[in-house]
Amino acid sequence: MKKLFLSVIGMYVMMLASFSQTTKPDSSYKSRKLTFEEANFVSSYYRQDGNNAAVTGGIGSEKLTDLSNSIDLKFIKYDRHDRKHSFTGELGIDHYTSASSDKIDPATISSASHADTRFYPSIGYTVENENKGTTVGAGLSSSTEFDYQSFGTNLSFSKKTNNKSGELTIKAQVYLDQLKLIYPVELRQGGGNNMNYGSDNRNTFSGSVSWSQIINERFQLMLEGELVYQSGYLGLPFHRVYFNDGSVHIENLPSSRLKIPLGLRANYFLGDKIILRTWYRNYHDDWGINSNALQLETVVKLGSFFSVTPFYRFYQQSAADQFAVYKIHTAADDFYTSNYDLSKFNSNFYGAGFRMAPPKGVFKLQHLNSLELRYGHYQKTNGMNSDIISLGLKFK
C-alpha cells in the first residue's frame, strides 16, 4: 500500500514536471497589432535666484521661473519573428520668465526671452530581438524658441550577453542648432531699433558607450563614457562682459569644445525595504573645467506600493579658462566671459520624492499606474539657489 502511494505521488510529480518542461512562453500573448503600452506625463515648476546674471556681465538678478510640461506615448507591436517594435512620441512645452533677459534691451520688451515658450517634440523607434538580445533604435528631435532652433537625431545599438547579466549600449547623437544673434542694445549696429538679427550655428556631436552589469541578485551597476564635441558659436550674443577699463563687450568663447564625462551608476537592494541608488561622474573638458558629481538616493518602501526617496547630490567644478568676474578681463584677453555657470563653485542639491503605484491604480483609477512627486533645493556656493518640484504620472 505504501509502495502504491509512493508510486502515485511519483507519477503525479513526473506529470507536473513534464508539464512544466513543455510549457513555453506563449507567443500568442504578443500582439501583432500596434498596441498602446504606456504614457507618461511630467510637469515641473522651477524657480531660481542669484546675483550674478551673465546678461549684465556677472552682476544683477538671476531670477527665473520655468514651467515645464511634457507627455510621451509608447506603442508596441511584435512581428512574426517575435521582434518587439516600439514607437515613442513626445511633446514638451516650457514657459519661462527671466529677469536678466529683460536687460538685453531695458527700454523695451524686445529682448530674446524676458518670457518665452519652448516647444520640443521628438519621436523614437526601436526594434528588440529578445532571442538575440539586441536592440536597435533611432530618433529625431527638435527644440524651438524665439531665438534658438535645434534639430537632433540619434542612433543606438544594444547587445546583451548570453546569460543576460550584462549589456553593452552604443549611442550616437547629433544636434544642429541655429541661434539668432541678438546683441545687447548698446552694442547693436544701427542702434536699438535694428531688429534685423543675424544668425549663427552650433553643432554638437556625441558618442557614448555604456556597460550595465548584474553583479548578484541584489546589485547592479552601469559604467558610461561619453565623448561630446561642439563647434560653432558656443557663447551667447547677449552675454555682456565688462573689461577693467569699464568698456562693455560681448562674451567671446572658443569655437570648439571637447567634453569627456565618465559616469558610474550602482543600485543595491538592501534587505526588503531599502534600495540604495548611487551615481558618480567625473568630467573634463578642453575649456579647463574639471568636475566631480556624486548623488546618493535611498528608496524606503513604506509598503508594497508606496515609497519615499530622500536624495542628496554634491557637485564641484573648476573655472573655465575664459572666466573672470565683473571688470577683471582686459583687452589683452583672447576669450572672455563672466557667465558664473563657468566659474569655480560647489553645489548641493537635496530633497525627497514620493511614489505610489497601487495594483488597482492610483486613486483607484485603473489606468493611472503610478504617481511620483519630487522636490529639490539647489544651492551654489556663489549664492545662486533654486527650487524644483516635479510631478510624474504614468498611464498604462
Binding site: 511630467v42 515641473s44 522651477y46 531660481q48 527665473l64 511634457s70 536678466s100 526671452s113 527644440s143 524658441e145 531665438d147 535645434s150 537632433g152 543576460k164 547579466s165 547623437q173 542648432d177 541661434l179 554638437t204 556625441s206 550595465s212 552589469q213 548584474i214 553583479i215 548578484n216 541578485e217 541584489r218 547592479q220 558610461e224 563614457g225 561619453e226 561630446v228 551667447l236 567634453k259 564625462p261 565618465l262 559616469g263 558610474l264 537592494f269 534600495i275 541608488r277 558618480y280 561622474r281 567625473n282 573645467i289 574639471n290 558629481a293 518602501k301 526617496t309 557637485y315 567644478q317 573648476s318 573655465a320 542639491f349 519630487r374 529639490g376 539647489y378 545662486m384 516635479s390 510624474g392
Partner: protein, 79 residues
C-alpha cells in the same frame, strides 16, 4: 592648484575603475527567477522620467554635463 585637483580627480577615477573591474570579476549569473529584486522599478539603471527637468536645469547651471541620461546638446539654456 588646478593640477593638484586634476591629479586627485584622476587618482579617484583610477581607484573607482579598479574597484569596478573587481566587482565585474566577482559577478555571478543570476537566473530570471532570481531577478525579482533587480526587476523592481526603483532598481532601474536608466534615467527616471520625473527627474528630466532636474537634469536639464543642472546641465544649464553647471559647466559639466553628460553621462547621466540628461542632454548634452540641443536647446539653448540661455537664461
Amino acid at each position: 592648484m588646478r593640477s593638484i585637483q586634476s591629479n586627485r580627480s584622476l587618482a579617484f577615477s583610477i581607484f573607482l575603475s579598479a574597484a569596478t573591474v573587481l566587482l565585474f570579476v566577482s559577478c555571478k549569473t543570476v537566473k530570471e527567477y532570481q531577478k525579482n529584486k533587480l526587476n523592481d522599478s526603483e532598481m532601474s539603471l536608466s534615467g527616471r522620467k520625473v527627474e528630466k527637468t532636474e537634469l536639464n536645469f543642472q546641465s544649464y547651471r553647471e559647466g559639466a554635463s553628460g553621462a547621466n541620461g540628461g542632454k548634452t546638446g540641443g536647446g539653448c539654456g540661455c537664461n
